[in-house]
């Protein structure tokens, strides 16, 4: 039995589905795979910066106050909410905010707190770069996957 992949391996839906699942699992926006004379490129979700959808807009805070995104926006990374809860910029009402626009941050840096069921969860950045924008107002509710912080990874 031949161990080499069959010629149409890339393009069977089972394989594609698996790739998409992997992308979702690792939160990848785009993959580009080559194998001999075959190539598959999958882009997920389009533009990474997204104003909350119609459904989310009703529940999330005000839409991000942003000008039309410049082309460079596609290089931005968005830190999204891993849970449902209330977004806080600082550890207490009298404390300084964890981050502000212009700050350089590393992946371990706590960028905000999301309170869920009376538990205050510190959310790490998960990326390095410079904070470009904070997309949610302090004390506002956030849903799973909601964009929180915009970071420029190249700065």
């Amino acid at each position: 039995m031949s161990a080499a992949p069959k010629p149409d391996d890339f393009f069977n839906t089972k394989q594609i589905r698996r790739l998409i699942a992997l992308m979702e699992k690792h939160d990848l926006a785009e993959i580009d795979l080559k194998n001999a004379d075959q190539r598959v490129r999958i882009k997920r979700g389009g533009e990474v910066v997204v104003a909350p959808t119609a459904q989310a807009a009703r529940t999330a805070g005000p839409a991000p106050a942003a000008a039309a995104p410049p082309p460079a926006d596609s290089k931005m990374v968005i830190i999204t909410s891993p849970m449902v809860g209330t977004f806080y910029r600082a550890s207490g009402p009298d404390s300084a905010a964890f981050i502000k626009v212009g700050d350089r941050i590393g992946p371990e840096k706590t960028v905000c707190i999301i309170e869920a069921m009376k538990v205050f969860n510190e959310i790490p950045a998960g990326v390095s770069g410079q904070v470009v924008a904070v997309l949610v107002e302090n004390g506002h509710p956030v849903e799973f996957g909601q964009p929180l912080i915009k970071v420029d990874p190249e700065k």
């Binding site: 989310a56 009703r58 529940t59 449902v84 869920a116 509710p141 849903e143 799973f144």
Partner: protein, 378 residues
């Protein structure tokens, strides 16, 4: 009455509950996974909150996220729908401790009727006939043989934590028993995480008839008569109808009264279904209780004229049931047909499922539309 309710479910039942709430002037908060982001029924809710990625275990089944959504959504109660967390007594418990109303039975009543084995004990206590069976989980193969001989072959092995026909095997004699027991245990463990098996006499060609019950927190327990669900495919219901086409009036009455008696004994309230099987001689035997509103509830609604979801909400808000048993007189005949999507056989061209629109006397639980893709949410 609640001002705002969160629906911890999706699809057809979410829409059903949203509609009931709207008609009652109650605001609604819907939750959704990323797979359901574009579902049209979400637009009917006052708010919609994303609770996770496509996988149900990471979204609809995440108690923490559902409760958080309830908190940021400012709701007074949660309707769990069916499936998902609807029969999860721990979830009902969490709701209670977070001071959020749970539109369903108490965690205690749910747990009592939820385990098929303990439900049988409850039935015996309430004087409700059960299929002759083991007095609990079968410990080992030796016990299995002994009990089977007591009950009388053929016997049916069933998973105590089971449902949907999984973890079930028939054994016609001693020889068939050991392999049947092993297979049933293995299947039960894989499907439900619980290998416990109990045993009953196998009833040949039974009719499957269930009773819709409805109770409040003021001591009233009613039944909305029966639904016959005998037409099944791979142990899954295909057609449900009311009244049952082959039930003598005395049997019908006795069965419904038995269902009410059982639920009263369990301290059960809200909507629920008590399942029976009826043998060829017309004897009925208790099988299990489904502590939730069911997919086929509209069948009972159509013959009785009672809105079960609104009743659930009213009862959960502490209201006394406004109907009396003598006033529940079924009229006409109602049928529900379940339309299933099977994977297309190899070589055939894919086609989207057919769509029919409801009209006069036909109720179409949506949201199956020709444009809604069938997503897999394993």
């Amino acid at each position: 009455m609640f001002k705002r309710v969160l629906i911890a479910n999706r699809g057809e039942i979410a829409l059903r509950v949203i509609r009931a709430c709207r008609e009652m002037g109650i605001e609604t908060v819907a939750i959704y996974s990323e797979a359901d982001r574009d579902a049209t029924y979400l637009q009917l809710a006052d708010e919609a909150i994303c609770v996770g990625p496509a996988k149900a275990s990471e979204s609809y089944l995440r108690i923490d996220r559902v409760i958080s959504a309830a908190e940021i959504g400012n709701v007074q109660a949660i309707h769990p729908g069916y499936g998902f967390l609807s029969e999860n007594s721990h979830f009902a418990e969490v709701c209670r401790s977070c001071d959020i109303g749970f539109i369903g039975p108490t965690p205690e009543a749910m747990a009592k009727v939820g385990d098929k084995n303990s439900a049988r004990a409850l039935a015996r206590e309430a004087g409700v006939p059960c299929v002759p069976g083991s007095d609990g989980i079968i410990a080992n193969e030796t016990d299995a043989v002994r009990i089977a001989r007591q009950i009388g072959f053929p016997v049916l092995l069933k998973a105590t934590a089971g449902g949907g026909g999984k973890g079930m095997r028939v054994a016609a004699d001693d020889q068939a028993l050991a392999p049947a027991w092993q297979q049933a245990s293995a299947e039960a463990l894989a499907a439900f995480g619980n290998a416990g098996i109990y045993m009953e006499r196998y009833i040949d060609r039974p009719r499957h008839v269930e009773v819709q019950v409805l109770g409040d927190t003021h001591g009233t327990m009613l039944h909305l008569w029966e639904r016959d669900c005998s037409t099944q495919r791979r142990h899954q219901k295909l057609i449900e109808e009311s009244p049952s086409p082959r039930l003598a009036p005395e049997t019908r009455k006795a069965m419904c009264e038995a269902a009410v008696r059982l639920c009263k004994t369990a301290g059960y309230h809200s909507a629920g279904t008590v399942e029976f099987i009826v043998d060829q001689e017309g004897n009925f035997y208790f099988i299990e209780v489904n502590a939730r509103i069911q997919v086929e509830h509209p069948v009972s609604e159509m013959v009785t004229g009672i809105d079960l979801v609104k009743a659930q909400i009213r009862v959960a808000a502490g209201e006394k049931l406004w109907i009396e048993q003598k006033d529940i007189v079924p009229r006409g005949h109602a049928l529900e047909c379940r339309i299933n999507a099977d994977p297309a056989p190899a070589g055939s061209s894919r086609s989207t499922p057919p769509v029919a629109s409801g009209s006069g006397g036909i109720r179409m639980p949506r949201p199956a539309t020709s444009s809604l893709p069938i997503t897999t949410r394993s």
